[in-house]
């Protein structure tokens, strides 16, 4: 059995993460943004799960309801993290924000380079790549395997992107 209070608390995880995020983002401007967002999400899930554990202990219930609360809380925190990540890294979001602010979307080699440099900086901050003697290298880890799974699923969902040129693994077909 699960108490409605614990469930509501879990459902409010994105709100807790957001409030924490506002607090820390404004007070710690130097911290890498994605790391900070991740930290806020982990803190929100921890708080929610601990509350559920306390409620379970008080009511004498077993730990299963806390597990479910942790699942709901972690799932919603993950959604919040991706929402923030989209606001930070998604090119389409940047484009619609530029248009809303009356800016003409930039085009050309300079803009592409800026976009790639931004991604390289983020990956370096997250310790997924390193640069040695002017060459970039990936750092082996879980993240690479996640990327492999994502690419594999992309091939499953959009096979037409990969049919035209089997050797072209970095581009996508034009609109």
């Amino acid at each position: 059995m699960i108490s409605p209070a614990a469930l509501v608390d879990a459902l409010l995880t994105p709100l807790w993460a957001f409030l924490l995020h506002i607090l820390l983002s404004r007070s710690r401007p130097g911290v890498p943004r994605q790391k900070l967002a991740l930290f806020c999400c982990v803190l929100a899930v921890t708080f929610t799960t601990m509350s559920a554990l306390v409620l379970d202990w008080i009511s004498g219930a077993d730990g299963r309801s806390s597990l479910f609360v942790a699942f709901v809380s972690a799932g919603l925190a993950h959604v919040y993290f991706h929402f923030f990540n989209m606001s930070e890294t998604a090119r389409r979001i940047r484009l619609i924000v530029d248009l809303a602010r009356g800016r003409v979307p930039a085009e050309g080699a300079y803009d592409n380079r800026l976009m790639v440099e931004a991604r390289l900086s983020r990956l370096a901050e997250l310790r997924q790549i390193r640069e040695t003697n002017g060459k970039l290298h990936s750092i082996p880890g879980v993240f690479i395997w996640i990327c492999r799974v994502v690419r594999g699923y992309e091939k499953l969902l959009f096979p037409s992107r990969f049919i035209a040129s089997p050797l072209r693994s970095e581009g996508r077909e034009s609109a």
């Binding site: 059995m1 506002i22 983002s25 940047r94 484009l95 976009m115 991604r119 060459k135």
Partner: protein, 163 residues
């Protein structure tokens, strides 16, 4: 107190919703949009669940919640598949290059999937912008979505994302 019995039915219904989604997306060029995905992941399965309950079936609230969590997470990560995430390309590309790559080589490889024009066409297909001549203008939905992100970033005290 809510019973946790039958929560696993949410996993079954989510996987069941995923199957037709994969089949339809594989056959459609260009693929359907995000609203169609909401239809496949939420409206259709929940409608079927309500129908099943109407005929005496069993689909508890915790199962519906489990389904919603899984489907929301799938929706959150779907853009990475749909837009062929440059970050995913970048990492797999570097991983496949044992001698490494220069920044110039990385930029050249990614230029095809980061071009502004192709992104604007994506937005046009999603009904978020419309084209008039050589320029693009936000639709009402596009303006609302942009406002959400502008206010969100404002609350966090952050400027615009780098994209």
């Amino acid at each position: 107190m809510l019973s946790l019995e039958g929560w696993w039915l949410g996993i079954v219904s989510f996987l069941g919703a995923l199957m037709p989604h994969i089949v339809v997306w594989r056959r459609s060029v260009p693929p359907p949009g995000a609203l169609d995905l909401v239809l496949y992941l939420f409206l259709l399965p929940y409608s079927l669940a309500l129908l099943a309950i109407g005929f005496g079936g069993h689909y508890p609230f915790v199962a519906a919640l489990t389904h919603a969590i899984l489907a929301s997470n799938y929706l959150a990560i779907y853009p990475a598949f749909q837009a062929s995430s440059p970050t995913v390309h970048l990492l797999t590309m570097l991983h496949d290059a044992p001698r490494g790559m220069t920044r110039e080589e990385v930029v050249q490889h990614l230029v095809g999937i980061t071009a502004v024009e192709s992104r604007l066409e994506d937005l046009k297909r999603a009904g978020l912008v419309f084209r008039s001549g050589n320029s693009f203008t936000l639709s009402r939905s596009g303006a609302r979505l942009a406002a959400v992100f502008i206010h969100y970033r404002g609350w966090l005290g952050l400027g615009q994302g780098a994209g």
